[in-house]
Structure formats: C-alpha cells, structure tokens
Symmetry: C2
Subunit: 338 residues, 2 copies
Amino acid sequence: MGKLIQLKKQGSKNTAFTELRNFVDSELKKTSEIINKRLVSEVPLINELAGHLVNSGGKRIRPILTIATAKMYNYSGDRHVNLAACIEFLHSATLLHDDVVDKSVLRRGEKTANTIWSNKASVLVGDFLLSKAFEIMVEDKSIEVLRILSKAASVIAEGEVMQTLADRQLDTTEDRYLKIILSKTAELFSAACLVGSIVGGGSTSEKNAMEDFGKNLGIAFQLTDDALDYTASSSAIGKTIGDDFRECKATLPVLLSYRRCDKQDRMFWNKTIVDGTQENGDLEMAIKIMNKTNSIKDTFLRAKHFSDCAKDALAIIPNSIGKELLCNTADFCVERTV
Amino acid sequence: MGKLIQLKKQGSKNTAFTELRNFVDSELKKTSEIINKRLVSEVPLINELAGHLVNSGGKRIRPILTIATAKMYNYSGDRHVNLAACIEFLHSATLLHDDVVDKSVLRRGEKTANTIWSNKASVLVGDFLLSKAFEIMVEDKSIEVLRILSKAASVIAEGEVMQTLADRQLDTTEDRYLKIILSKTAELFSAACLVGSIVGGGSTSEKNAMEDFGKNLGIAFQLTDDALDYTASSSAIGKTIGDDFRECKATLPVLLSYRRCDKQDRMFWNKTIVDGTQENGDLEMAIKIMNKTNSIKDTFLRAKHFSDCAKDALAIIPNSIGKELLCNTADFCVERTV
C-alpha cells in the first residue's frame, strides 16, 4: 500500500468521487466527530496510535457509501453517520492488523503505526477499534444491521487469512484471487451500501441492488488499486509505485503476467515474488513483462467489467442526484489515477 | 431451449469446436458406445425415451471437455471415455427434468420427451440416467472423482431449484443470476475439466487451472446461449429464437434490459415475463428494447469477460495441441452463432 492519496487534486476523472463527498459533506463531518470522540481513551497510546491512522487522509470511501446510500432515500436521522463511523472503524482495524502481518513500513506515504509504535501496540489498538465498531453497531439496535456488519467483520478476517496463505503463491488462480478480494475488500463495500439502504428504508429489491452494487464496486476498486500500484503517473505527486511488488504480493497483474509469460520471465517472477529476491531494476523489469503480456491493461479491463455490473445493479433504484453520484463513482473507481 | 444445433455447418467462428471434436473423435465414439450400451434396459420405455434424448444431436461439449483434457496429458487408458459418458448422463438427466419443470415442448428442434411420452416417464427416466451416472463413477473407483462428480450432481440440482425460484422474477440481481448459472451450467463444465485433469495426472496447480477454466467457460457458454436466444441469424436454418422469452425466463439480456429501460418498457417486461401475457409482435418488441438498452450486446460482452478468464486460467498448462484447441474453444463459446 503506502500510497499518498491526493484527494485535493481534482483531475477530470477524479471529480466524480469529490462530488459524492461534497454531497455528504455535512454528514461526513458528523461521522468524523463521532470517530474522534470515540477514539478518546484514558490510555494515551490508544489516542495517539488510532488517531494517527484514522486521521491520516484515507478516502473514507466506505463511510461515504453508507451515508450517500441513506441520503439517496432522503434519510435525515443520525443512524447513517453513526454506522458510517462503525464501518470506518472496522476498516481501520483491518489496516492496522494488515500492516503488522505484511510488515509494512509506509501507508498513504507516512510511516505505519507498527513502525512508529510496535506490532504489539498495532494489534491491540486494532482490537480496540474492532470493539468500538461493535459498540456502535449494538447501539444502533437493529438485529438486521448487526447481522450484516458482524458477518462482514468475520468475512474480512477470513479474507486476510486467505490472502496470507496466497502470499507469494504465483499459482493462485484468478478465481481464488477474486474470492480473496471479495472477502478482504468487497464485503465491506457491500455491507456499507446495504446498511445505508436499510437505514434509508429501501425495499428488498433495492437492498439487494445496493448490496450487489457495493460488492462489484469493491472488486472494481481493489483490482484498479492492484493495477495502479504499477502505473502511477509522475504527475500524481507523492504517489509511490511498486509497493505491492516490494511486498511480494501476488496481485492480479502479477498473476496474469505469470500465466501469460514465457519460461524465462516465469523465472523472474519466481525469483522476485516467490523467493523475494529483488534487485535494482527489477520493478522496471516487472512492469516491462506486464506490459508485454497486457496484464496491467487487462486488470483495468477486468475492473471495468465489475464496475459495469455495479452500475447495472444500481439501475433498479429510482433516479435521484444521490443515485447519479453513486453511479459516477463506479466510473471513478476504475478511471481514477490515484 | 428448443434449438436445432447445426453441428455440420462450419462457419469460420464455429470451426474451433469442430477441431476439438475431431481431436477426440475416436474416444468420443467409444463414449457414445458406452452411452448406448448403458441405456439398454429390459424396460422398452427407458430405451426409447432415453435414446430419444441422448441421440438427438447435442453438442456433447461436456464429455468432449473431459476427454480432451485427459488427452492433453497424452492419457491413453479408458477412464476418460467412461467418465465422459457419466458426465453426459448427468447432463441428460437434468435436461429431462428441466423440460418437465419448464413444461418445454421443443428441445433441439424436436419434441421433448415429456411431450411425446409423459412428465412421469421423463422424471423417472431422468432418475434412471442419474443412477447410471453414479454407477459409472463408482466403477471408476477414485474417491476424488466420486467426490467431485457427486458434488456436481447436487450443486446442479440446487441450481435448478434456485432457477425455479427466480423464474419470472425481474428483480433478480445479476449476481444472483450468475450464482444460478454457476450451479446450473458452470459446475458441470468445471467438473468435466477437473476430472479430465485428474485422469491425465495433472498437478494441483493444473487441476485448479482446469477447474477454473471449465467454470469460466461454462458461464461464458450459458451467457452466450442466453444472448443467442434473441439473435439467431436467419442463415442458421432450423434455429428458432425467443424460446427463453416464450418460457418467461428472466435471463441476463432480460434482466439488464429491465434494469436499464424506462417505466413504460418496464411495464412491457412485467406483462410479458412476470404475468406471462404475450401477444404477436411481443418478441420483436422485446428485442427492440434490448437493443435500445444494449442488453444483448452487453450480455455477449459479459460472456467475453468470462471466456477471457477461462483462457488465462488455462495459460498455466504446458503448451500442446490439446491446450490450444481448448483455448480456441473458449473463443468459440462466445463467438458462435448457433
């Protein structure tokens, strides 16, 4: 990971998400207040460490999805802002644990919590955030919402375990990889949208639609992330490329490239990803092989398939500004450059 | 269904599958002999009814996949020809039961067994074929193969039940529809390839690859079938179009069209698919709405995504003529016109 997300930079392809964020601006502020209030603890380490991550400039795409979906139904209570905070806590908890498992040094261009503090602290504060998430969902008092979000939490954990098992495995099939990102990423996107629809009072068809919208959006988002890790443009200041490569992650561009390339190039992938032996120039070589095999281009194309499915899922929802902004976000997810 | 498949007509797009069939010609003949021998029963009705279906000119794509996969490994025993017969029996059993459930009158341009004999006879002969399939898989004596094929049989049955529940349901989501065809069609394609790889002695990676190849191929095949039901070219003599429409099946072209069209057109879909009220000109109107919303075109595009995934799954297998023919079959599945 370790990408510095430039939210203030608004390229034409990046405006769709900015518009969605503006649409939920006042609610998102409330969610941020809830997040900060909930982070207050008598243990200073918790305040510092959790605050470091939670306020380090993530896109907040998951809580925004919850709020935007509820707002699409003109919902005006405060369940969505609370549940959005819950969802951001769930997400942050996984990030903390992920960085420990992956031994990551940078996230969003800054030192990771495990680097600044320690693995032990990151694991425990991750548990703290997870418990906070459960507290908020229990306060919401809806068994339906509790069922969805607690299931999401366990599916994400399963996804992380699956990913660990697939690490450095070049023979992971695309379907297996999809299953991992379905659990690791798409499940929470899906839950975020579904919960928003429940709060907004969506019909069964509409809840199904939002669940599938989120799911497909999440896959599209993750696949695009995987491809972007090898294609950052120099204009996107602060963006580093090759983080996944350095962490020997067998993401889809690598898996497609490995399957499509010749014997010699397969030896390269075995050396750099399986053995983890990387030298100067290897990242450039990796990108060269990927381009030769169209693997980055086709990862974007696969992402587009899922973003198309997301938009079609959404199509059944009555037209509104909120729906239009969510629909555009599906395009943003695969066309973004950061 | 009720399509008359013109296997002898070899358009440029249709040669890939013919080449695959030629590749396994001698083995396929043995499989046909096994099929005919196994159909012999003391009960004349069983001989007639089962023979009517099994010899009515299906593509035999599933048994061909099993044989071709095993042959790709230069396997020269007779397990693949026997298991191919087993797989064709499993498939035929579902067709018989399907036609009863769907009250179908025509299959492959000929009267269905339930129309000629009776529902009762079709159900029971379906059970007979299913038991024959189990007999053959038990004779193979491999617990691994037994596990895969018996699981496939139950997943297919589940898929059929799911489809019955989704019949005439225009609010079925695309993901739900995919789940249905995954069970109903892709599971047996997948099992056919996996079993071929087991018989041929494939490594774990290769077995995983063939399993995913078959799965993605099956989805691509079914989605293309769904689209072709609305696009038969007049040159394909004997091909009837609109069978799915007349049976009020909410296949992907219908589902996409329903999600994308305006209120007035949604009323049309409700009348023709949900209420099942169809008049002269309605099929033409359905196709018109589908074209206006790009639903047929995009169903083909979705199929192409899965056929691309199938080819990438296969890429890890060592190069050979068999592999090349299977790879071309993935293109055939989405480019065929019949």
